[in-house]
């Protein structure tokens, strides 16, 4: 019976291909791409049929072909029928292929595919195309315009496209079929968010990014790089490029991969990517890129927990939350804050400036409600930031890096004046008495009085006392960092660990979890439906990587896929990547959230038995702009230790032009993908609670890739073809098929069909009815109940009492004196078991570098994405300022400091220290206190006026000046959001830029 079925299916297969090629013109064109013969058969050759593709026609006959190029064998007819029936009969069965059956057949060798990769991959992808050929993408809105959807780091968008050109990009307005949103009633008012999505400035900027003159359109090779001759590594960053074909480029890359592996052994290739990417669960770095790394075997660059430093290395020891990188839970806090809180203290918290990373203006809408209610607001920040500007309230400017001292003085007042929750401290915390002794000065003879803190912070003692008293007498939400629960803020400067630790102590003293007392600033914790599953990007997408993504939480069971495992166990701590390459060794600690103690694991490079790194596979160009003391990276590129550097990038950014070979990647608007807005997963589980409405999107390939650029997935699979790895990397399918698999893995099929989803482009996930909303974070803890918020952390074995009782610390309680630190190194002066204040810088007016410069995240660009590249946002005078025809980065200087230096508005100034110098345009302001300055990090441009790595930069790369020092030795923690510098007027006579420009590069290229 199976034999007959199999024969019929094979016959039907040809009919299916022919039938679809008649209906779908694109498919017909596709069929004419390759000429070859594929044999499909049972392993014992009892049944067989061959298909010959010849200039678009498909000839077929039962039996066995003499010389098939591709052979697809099934163990027997039963296996073949099971696997092929759904494919051929999809249009009748209306259900998708059973992936698990397919993968099991592959793993058990019941299904084998032989032939050259370029044909086998084309063959399987062509068979799969029959499943998607009939789909309609996007909505026709008339006049030849189609409305597509996509997702950016700044929110979901509609794209209006005509003749393969993006006309406009807008946020999504919901239609009458989309669900209603939620309502919160608080203090006699009803609050309901609008039925549309919001978009961040960097999202609105995308059209100019897609059509940027800096787009990389062709593969390019450095003109003086010859893989078979002289490599001239020292010229990286100086030489121009020539255009080469994809074939040449892919041969060089795959050739180098093979050579380096054979010549040097495992670990000789390192992969380095940014912390972010263009959005999409298929194309993301944690997805396609990780699968590629694992398929090839590469040394990993082990990221530090970059936006969470102080929370991970500090706060987690007091209140656990290691899987959240040391941050607090956030469930239900929007409703609780609006209903109960009497005051919000924004402490290094500027959600308006950072859009909650991925939350666009969703939180802004809610913070406008905060303005409408009678809730007091205080801002502690060296800069009168965007949130101060919007919300008003009392601004308490502190000297950068000094605010842990403020926290201690607040605790001092509370202790002295009995303004804290003694009951909670007694029953729900441990170690308070030890910290109290320190605060009262019994340990070091220094009472942490407001007067003491005044000297450290620059705040008046009376203001510190007033804040402490106000806080101690009210129900207060503490907003730490942009997300309010930790992320961002002051955790990334040299005292970031102290800051995060001391804030945990403060909120613990006030009884976190009682109504109106919690962490948050309305950025997280909306009543969206968290019971509805869609995988976040940290869940690894198509990577199959259970080790370095959060896939094992849920996605792995929901989406069958081949597991991938990197056989190279060597990794380099990211902060020391340049040292690892140049000096050949580096040490650090790991970011691993599985337990509090996991962070005590040391990473050493090189790992015994592995090769030192000889080749760098770089994704994108963000490191110069985002990593401390980034001249180090320039020197790394010019090191002869790196035999080969390939950069796969969308644009020619400052860092890109240091590669030997450049592979042009396309944007997310030029490939198929699928995703949910602000769905991070993993370390930011339920990131969607930043949103007013959960929105999942089919990311349409709205336009063809520009020039010869290609999607990351396509580039990786082409390299894999040359390594014989394409079946492993792709599982024989294309991006849209992966998107379907992710769709099927999620709960989306419960509310929308695949066909409607790809046509309409988005689905709004309905909110729970109010009775089913998430419980309030920490309330279970406050009331000593079992944990009832929907977060699957900590891991079961980390509970000390019964499962779900207490938190992750040894005592199961919030620990003022951290047991984990006592166990690890109780004598570490940098991180003692109780938090103590240790100033980072001793700076005064007479210092060589008297100015403390803050370098927070940029407001208008998303890290380097969006900056420069001739994009729209460069016209925003708070981003860059045009002086003499050049767009300079902005540095904000206090008016008095400017007066001392004879600096006027928009003057060009030199910001410098021993590490380097950057030319910026000065903005004079009273929004920053004296002896401080403010300029964003993450500039995308590097424009040295002389020798790269050793000269003044006028691109605006302030991270040239930031300290590389880890906050504490026993951590791998950046501390670069404050640097000490001098600022003076720039003598324009020095301005003789070397003619190094993209134009030159493209002259050679074309």
């Amino acid at each position: 019976m199976a034999a007959i079925k199999f024969s019929l299916i094979l016959f039907g297969l040809r009919a299916l291909l022919l039938w679809q090629s008649l209906i779908y013109k694109k498919f017909k064109d596709h069929l004419s791409e390759k000429n070859f013969t594929a044999q499909i058969q049972t392993k014992d050759q009892s049944i067989g049929r061959w298909l010959t593709f010849n200039n678009g026609s498909v000839i077929s006959s039962s039996g066995f072909h003499q010389k098939p190029e591709v052979v697809l064998s099934f163990k027997n007819a039963n296996v073949a029928v099971e696997l092929l029936m759904p494919l051929v009969m999809a249009f009748l069965l209306k259900k998708s292929i059973n992936q698990l059956d397919q993968i099991n057949a592959l793993k058990d060798f019941n299904l084998t595919l032989d032939g050259p990769d370029e044909l086998t991959l084309w063959f399987t992808q062509t068979l799969m195309k029959t499943q998607t050929n009939g789909l309609k993408f996007g909505i026709d809105v008339g006049d030849g315009v189609v409305r597509y959807t996509n997702m950016t780091n700044g929110g979901p968008v509609f794209l209006y496209v005509k003749n393969d050109k993006i006309i406009r990009i807008t946020p999504i307005e919901f239609d009458h079929n989309d669900p209603e949103t939620w309502t919160i009633s608080a203090r006699g008012k009803k609050f309901r968010p609008p039925r549309k999505t919001s978009l961040a400035p960097h999202g609105m900027n995308w059209k100019s990014m897609v059509y940027s003159p800096d787009r990389l359109l062709y593969p390019m090779k450095r003109i003086d790089f010859d893989p078979d001759g002289k490599r001239n590594q020292k010229n990286r960053g100086n030489s121009g490029y020539e255009r080469i074909s994809w074939d040449e480029a892919l041969n060089i890359v795959s050739g180098e991969i093979k050579r380096v592996k054979k010549e040097h052994g495992p670990g000789a290739i390192v992969n380095s990517h940014g912390s972010h990417h263009t959005w999409g669960n298929v194309g993301y770095y944690l997805s396609a890129n990780f699968k590629f790394i694992n398929a090839v075997g590469m040394t990993r660059v082990h990221h530090n927990p970059d936006s969470w430093e102080g929370w991970y290395w500090g706060a987690a020891h007091h209140w656990g939350g290691s899987l959240r990188v040391g941050q607090s839970e956030t469930y239900g806090t929007v409703e609780d804050l609006l209903k109960e809180a009497e005051m919000v203290v924004f402490w290094a918290s500027n959600p308006e400036g950072t859009s909650g990373a991925y939350g666009s203006f969703e939180g802004t809408i809610r913070r406008k409600w905060l303005k409408e209610l009678d809730i007091d607001i205080v801002h502690v920040d060296p800069f009168y930031n965007d949130s101060c500007q919007f919300l008003g309230g009392k601004w308490l400017p502190t000297k950068p890096t000094s605010s842990p001292a403020l926290a201690m003085a607040i605790a001092y007042v509370w202790i002295k004046e009995n303004l804290y929750d003694k009951e909670f401290v007694k029953n729900r915390t441990t170690g308070f008495e030890v910290w109290k002794e320190y605060i009262l000065g019994k340990e070091d003879k220094i009472e942490k009085t407001p007067e003491w803190a005044s000297k450290e912070t620059g705040l008046a003692a009376k203001d510190i006392r007033a804040l402490a008293r106000k806080w101690g007498n009210k129900k207060v939400y503490l907003a730490a960092g942009g997300w309010g629960n930790g992320h961002g803020g002051a955790c990334r400067n040299q005292t970031g660990i102290q800051w995060a630790r001391s804030l945990v102590c403060l909120i613990a003293m006030q009884g976190i979890g009682k109504p109106g007392v919690n962490m948050g600033n309305l950025q997280w914790g909306t009543p969206v439906d968290n019971n509805f599953y869609f995988p976040g990007y940290a869940e690894g997408g198509i990577s199959g990587d259970l080790h370095h993504t959060a896939m094992s939480v849920e996605l792995y069971q929901r989406m069958p896929q081949l597991q991938s495992l990197n056989t190279v166990e060597q990794s380099i701590p990211r902060l020391w990547l340049p040292e690892a390459i140049i000096e050949g060794k580096a040490e650090g600690y790991v970011w691993d959230g599985k337990s509090i103690e996991a962070q005590f694991n040391k990473v050493s490079y090189p790992k015994p038995g592995y090769s030192p790194v000889k080749m760098l596979y770089k994704y994108g160009g963000s490191m110069f702009g985002t990593m401390p003391d980034s001249n180090r990276h320039i020197k790394m590129y010019q090191s002869e230790n790196l035999e080969f550097v390939v950069n796969q990038s969308i644009w020619m950014e400052g860092e890109t032009k240091f590669a030997d070979l450049i592979l042009p990647a396309c944007t997310n608007f030029e490939r198929d993908d699928i995703s949910e807005w602000a769905a991070l997963g993993g370390y930011a589980h339920h990131g969607q609670t930043q949103l007013n409405n959960r929105v999942a999107v089919f990311q349409h390939k709205a336009i063809e890739p520009l020039g010869e650029s290609k999607s990351d997935y396509k580039i990786f699979s082409m390299i894999c073809e040359r390594l014989g790895l394409s079946a492993y990397f792709t599982e024989g399918i294309s991006e849209i098929d992966w998107a379907r698999r992710i769709f099927d893995s999620s709960d989306l099929p419960k509310i929308i069909s695949w066909e409607n989803f790809v046509k309409k482009g988005y689905a709004v996930i309905p909110p729970n009815k109010s009775e089913l909303r998430d419980p309030l974070s920490w309330n279970w803890y406050y009331e000593n109940r079992k944990k009832d918020v929907p977060e699957p952390m900590p891991l079961p074995s980390d509970y000390k009492d019964e499962y779900l009782k207490g938190i992750q610390t040894q005592s199961g309680k919030i620990e003022f004196e951290a047991s984990s630190l006592k166990r690890f190194d109780e004598n570490d002066p940098e991180r003692p078991p109780i938090v103590k204040y240790k100033p980072a810088f001793q700076v005064n007016k007479n210092s060589k570098y008297p100015i403390m410069m803050l370098t927070p995240h940029p407001r208008y660009s998303f890290h380097t994405q969006g900056d420069a590249k001739d994009s729209f946002i460069n016209d925003i005078s708070d981003h860059r300022v045009k002086v003499d025809g050049y767009d300079y980065w902005v540095i904000r200087i206090n008016t008095e400091d400017a007066k001392d230096r004879n600096i006027k508005m928009n003057d060009l100034v030199k910001v410098y220290n021993d590490q380097g110098a950057v030319i910026c345009a000065a903005q004079l302001t009273d929004r920053i206190m004296e002896s401080s300055a403010h300029g964003y990090e993450s500039c995308a441009k590097y424009d040295p006026l002389g020798k790269p790595g050793n000269s003044v930069d006028r691109g605006g790369m302030l991270n040239l000046l930031t300290p590389k020092k880890t906050q504490i030795k026993k951590a791998h923690s950046m501390g670069n959001s404050t640097a000490i510098v001098q600022i003076e007027l720039w003598d324009k006579k020095e301005l003789k830029p070397k003619k190094f420009s993209k134009e030159k590069i493209f002259e050679t290229a074309e």
Partner: protein, 278 residues
């Protein structure tokens, strides 16, 4: 006849620039015959956000006002234009015809609000024209307005009399009223841009300990008359706002329990008097 108006609440503008970016997204690379030619990719700001920082550290605030073509009913550009290059539509919107206006730089110069942009390459004057090309196709509001995250910008299509009433009721102002051009763009809380404040922090020292004084009564006096009175907050702060810049001499009287203090000043611009010890 219902006509378009735009109301901008300065209190809710955060300088996020979504409006100016949406404008660029719509017009860079796109021409709409009869409405406008392409906008230059860089340098042209049909919607231009102006900034006003007031006060001194730590009592500062910053007001932003998005400015654009004011769609005046008595628009000087209408008169300055030759061959009907500028038209006033029945719905109140001004359109500069991209064909007819070629070479007419005097249109740019005629605008007292400096709201008309000159496109060097095409040699035409250009403005933000309410996205009339979209409104005419049934869009509900201009793109710059629909992307405003805080709802600081709102369009409203009503009869002129209704608008007049609304403006009075909500104390809306127009830019540069002295030119009398009858703009259709209205501003709420414009004081954050064009007015100034007197602020200070009241403190006292008792037993060598410095403390904020909350609840002190502070009176603002001009020409011997009390023009405003308030109480200091928990940080001892007071702030008299909406004062005219360069408006002469003021007295600030502070009273707390039996303590009194008076400060005289000549107001030029927003001033933070710093810590005032009783």
């Amino acid at each position: 006849m219902k006509k378009w108006n735009l109301i901008i609440d300065v209190d809710n503008c955060t300088n996020c620039h979504m409006c100016s970016l949406a404008c660029k997204d719509e017009f860079v690379g796109n021409s709409f015959p009869g409405y406008s030619a392409e906008m230059p990719k860089r340098g042209a700001n049909w919607i231009n956000i102006k900034k006003k920082e007031r006060g001194q550290t730590p009592m500062v605030d910053v007001g932003y006002i998005p400015t654009m073509c004011q769609h005046c009913d008595d628009a000087p550009c209408l008169k300055a234009a030759k061959n009907n290059a500028v038209i006033k539509r029945e719905d109140g919107i001004i359109i500069i015809d991209p064909e007819k206006s070629k070479g007419q730089k005097q249109i740019v110069d005629s605008c007292p609000h400096s709201a008309i942009s000159w496109n060097e390459e095409l040699e035409i004057p250009q403005i933000w024209f309410f996205d009339a090309h979209l409104l005419d196709k049934g869009w509900k509001e201009p793109r710059a307005i629909s992307v405003c995250a805080t709802g600081a910008m709102k369009t409203i299509k009503i009869e002129d009399q209704e608008m007049k009433n609304l403006a009075e009721k909500e104390s809306l102002e127009v830019l540069n009223p002295q030119f009398n051009t009858k703009p259709r763009i209205y501003y709420k809380n414009l004081y954050r841009y064009n007015k100034c404040f007197i602020g200070g922090s009241v403190a006292l020292i008792k037993n060598k300990v410095e403390d904020c004084v909350s609840g002190a009564v502070v009176k603002l006096i001009q020409n011997k008359k009390i023009i405003s009175e308030l109480k200091t907050d928990d940080f001892g702060d007071f702030k008299f706002d909406k004062l005219k810049p360069n408006s002469g001499n003021y007295g600030v009287n502070i009273e707390y329990n039996s303590k009194k203090k008076t400060i005289e000043l000549d107001l030029e611009n927003s001033i933070y008097l710093g810590n005032i010890y009783l």
